[in-house]
Amino acid sequence: MSATVAMPAKAPGTGYWRGVGRRFARQPLAMAAAMVLLVVVLSAIGADWIAPADPFQTSVSRRLAAIGTPGRWLGGDELGRDMLSRLIHGGRVSLAMAIVPVAVALVIGGFLGVLAGYAGGAVNMAIMRVMDVFYAYPSILLAVAIAGALGPGMVNGMVALTLVFVAPIARVAESVTTQVRANDYVVAARLSGAPTSMILRRHVLNNVAGPVLVFAASQVSVSIIAASGLSFLGLGVSPPQADWGLMLSALRQALYVNPWVAALPGAAIFLCSMAVNIVSDGIRRAMELRR
């Protein structure tokens, strides 16, 4: 209680997100993770310019080349392609596989959740019971089953993962919306006679968005692992697209021969997923409003 002392008198109007940013910047680990993610995202975007070599150029002589081999600075893969270039290009596909499903699920699940939470009653019942059904499957199992049913491929994998994430995001959105809606300021807004769309926009969404976004961000790491798991089972991205999961799967045999090179895709997945987790933890911490 007394540990928190009165707020500073000056607090700018739009200062909430700035405050979150400030509090986020004060966490060195989260900042480091954010930097890692930034580097990965930027290099994925600029893969065509950054990658030192053609990610598809095979070289029989440089199969599983050791790290540090000239022209294959991070080693060569099972076809002698440049690991570094493939990791950079692979980030593009892997991140897309991780982010797109969550983003789409965020739109769908967020919409359903907010709708259910704000409307309440029968609408809530209808939407959330359907979500419960999807929630009744272990997530990776559901992804595997859907991807298995649809067949391998990047798009199918994304569809499968999207379906996996809709229900949990909808649940979070619904519960946050229900909480927000119970606040007296929403009651006051309704009392003012404002149209529902305006209440949603001004009072509900901007209070719901934060927690839901943070949750979705944390799901990105789940998505990274699940997507690579699909590739591992042969249900994800198709070759020759460089994808970390696919690379991991293709190189798992080389772990016996050149473990350091073969472990790179797994390490990339781990690093990225970890960075996402640390960043979303950091944002969550930065978003905590302390009275």
């Binding site: 095979t58 076809l79 298995g148 042969g234 249900l235 045999q253 050149n258 350091w260």
Partner: protein, 536 residues
């Protein structure tokens, strides 16, 4: 090994030293454990599923066909030899009727006598839906492999007659697939094929001792096997389904098995280093692209077919596969009697490939887009992703943009059944499917002609060639082995010259063996005979 020292040190630090030695495997002397690529034990009722792999492990081990493959030598392609039939020939008066003389004194594992009734029973249960023992599963597994069979009859206790659909010299090859089951035992287990599968009885060199579905099948020698030369020397043979390649490697390296099928190319150096033998031999199994020659396909143009064949660096691929393949320039290996004398030699000549493509109207300004359907894995498919990626890169260098559409194995088989002309395959120019080519039908005849069009056959690409079709007719009526071989060589010559396939490699049936495994003969066949094996 050196690369792993750090990991090893970490592990040693992590785990209590007390753990060491506790799990040291102690295999019984003479027990051979085999890691199969299959996910499950093939059906054990004499009509094994899972294709030739099923026949290899659950077919020729427990059962015998009327004819058997000779798997005793590694130099020449495997040949037919007598099995439960001692001699066979078409009747001179009617070449559609064959007389099979049966071997006497053969007993099933249940003790009952193998005779004509048993053989007839084996036909009935698979092909006669009115018979009490009819089993639809057996029919599914068998029918396609014995298409020549039309009718069967007992002549005496040790003689039967088989009638073929038209004249067909291929019947003896097909009879390797008809495994003879015991009617007495079927009665004994309550006329239930599921019970029979749990407790099978055949005449083969191995008896099944234990079966745990999806985990393990244990075979023990049939000490009374009729062919003394093939009486197993091992005490026990354990077959383990381990579909995941890294798990098979791990099983080998940790001495959980002495024999692993299809080690991955990348693990070969490590396995060799650890003292394992990587046994290979060119087996009658090819890994090509079956192309669509329909008018709307670029492969309708022979120049494109030849260009693609010339664009592929087969030696490079073999190197990538660590020698677990041999280059393929036809359905058969050049040393095969049916190889013939094709004038077109698929080789690595990208300049020529570019020239042919240019002649066909493609060039740097008009790159050729192609779409192949492939599988992610599957029986006999070798290392499809890796190999296709390699080919994709080869083709890119000559101006072909290859799109690979990946399916899981059974879905790809579905696409195969639809044929290139099927709606689902619109826009698809080739199918990557490996084929076994151990007999004339499987190796050559099924890839062309109207009778073989999907869904009734495997002429996926709609190859119509009067020359080939005429030769095929003649083969069916030719019973003299030499003349038959000559005709087959003509077919293969024409098939290669027309570049009806894009050949890549032949499988070498790689298997990794512990040094303790002795007596192994790597026959040029999909099959292997476990009988001569023993452990040191």
């Amino acid at each position: 090994m050196t690369c792993f020292t750090p990991l090893r040190r970490i592990a040693a630090a992590l785990l209590l030293p007390a753990l060491i030695g506790l799990s040291a495997p102690a295999a019984a002397q003479g027990t051979l454990r085999v890691a199969m690529t299959l996910a499950d034990i093939p059906l054990t009722d004499g009509a094994p599923d899972q294709g030739t792999e099923g026949v290899r492990f659950s077919g020729i081990t427990i059962y015998d066909g009327l004819t058997n493959w000779d798997l005793t030598q590694a130099e020449r392609p495997a040949e037919l030899r007598s099995g439960l039939a001692t001699e066979w020939a078409p009747r001179p008066d009617d070449p559609t009727r064959w007389i099979f003389k049966l071997r006497q004194g053969v007993r099933f594992h249940d003790g009952s006598v193998m005779n004509a009734d048993a053989v007839i029973f084996s036909f009935e249960r698979a092909l006669n839906s009115n018979h009490p023992a009819y089993d639809v599963s057996a029919r599914r597994q068998l029918q396609a492999f014995i298409p020549a069979v039309k009718a069967w009859a007992k002549i005496d206790d040790y003689t039967i007659e088989i009638e073929t659909n038209g004249i067909d010299s291929q019947l003896p090859f097909q009879m390797t697939r008809l495994f003879v089951v015991s009617p007495t035992h079927w009665e004994a287990v309550g006329r239930d094929w599921n019970a029979y599968r749990r407790n099978p009885s055949g005449t083969g060199p191995w008896r099944m001792d234990a079966l745990v579905p999806r985990q393990r099948m244990e075979l023990v020698p049939n000490r009374e096997y009729w062919d003394a030369a093939r009486r197993p020397r091992l005490d026990r043979l354990i077959l383990l389904p381990i579909p995941e390649v890294s798990a098979r490697t791990a099983a080998l390296l940790s001495n959980r098995v002495e024999w692993a099928e299809s080690p991955s190319p990348d693990s070969v150096p490590r396995l060799r280093q650890a003292g394992f033998t990587i046994s290979t031999n060119a087996i009658p199994h090819m890994w090509p692209y079956t192309v669509s020659v329909l008018p709307d396909s670029p492969f309708h143009d022979i120049r494109v077919r030849q260009a693609v064949n010339l664009a592929i660096d087969r030696d490079g691929l073999v190197q990538v596969l660590n020698g677990l393949a041999v280059p393929s320039i036809g359905n058969l290996t050049p040393d095969h009697p049916w190889f013939g004398t094709p004038s077109f030699r698929p080789r690595f000549d990208q300049a020529e490939a570019r020239r042919l493509l240019a002649a066909a109207g493609y060039g740097p300004n008009r790159r050729l887009p192609l779409k192949f359907i492939i599988s992610a894995s599957g029986s006999g498919q070798m290392y499809p992703l890796l190999m296709n990626e390699y080919v994709q890169e080869n083709l890119r260098q000559v101006g072909i943009d290859l799109e690979l559409q990946v399916f899981e194995w059974e879905a790809l088989r579905g696409r195969r059944r639809d044929g290139a002309q099927g709606a689902s395959n619109r826009g698809v120019h080739a199918l990557n499917n490996s084929w076994n080519s151990m007999d004339p039908y499987n190796g050559l005849l099924r890839f062309f002609g109207p009778n073989e069009l999907p869904p009734n056959g495997t002429n996926w690409g709609n190859i119509r060639d009067e020359v080939l079709e005429g030769l095929a007719e003649r083969v069916k009526g030719e019973f003299n082995p030499q003349r038959q071989a000559a005709l087959l060589a003509q077919i293969h010559t024409r098939f290669v010259d027309q570049a009806y396939f894009i050949w890549v490699v032949h499988d070498v049936g790689p298997r990794a063996l512990s040094r303790r495994v002795q007596g192994h003969v790597h026959a040029k066949s999909w099959y292997v005979d476990f009988s001569p094996l023993f452990l040191r």
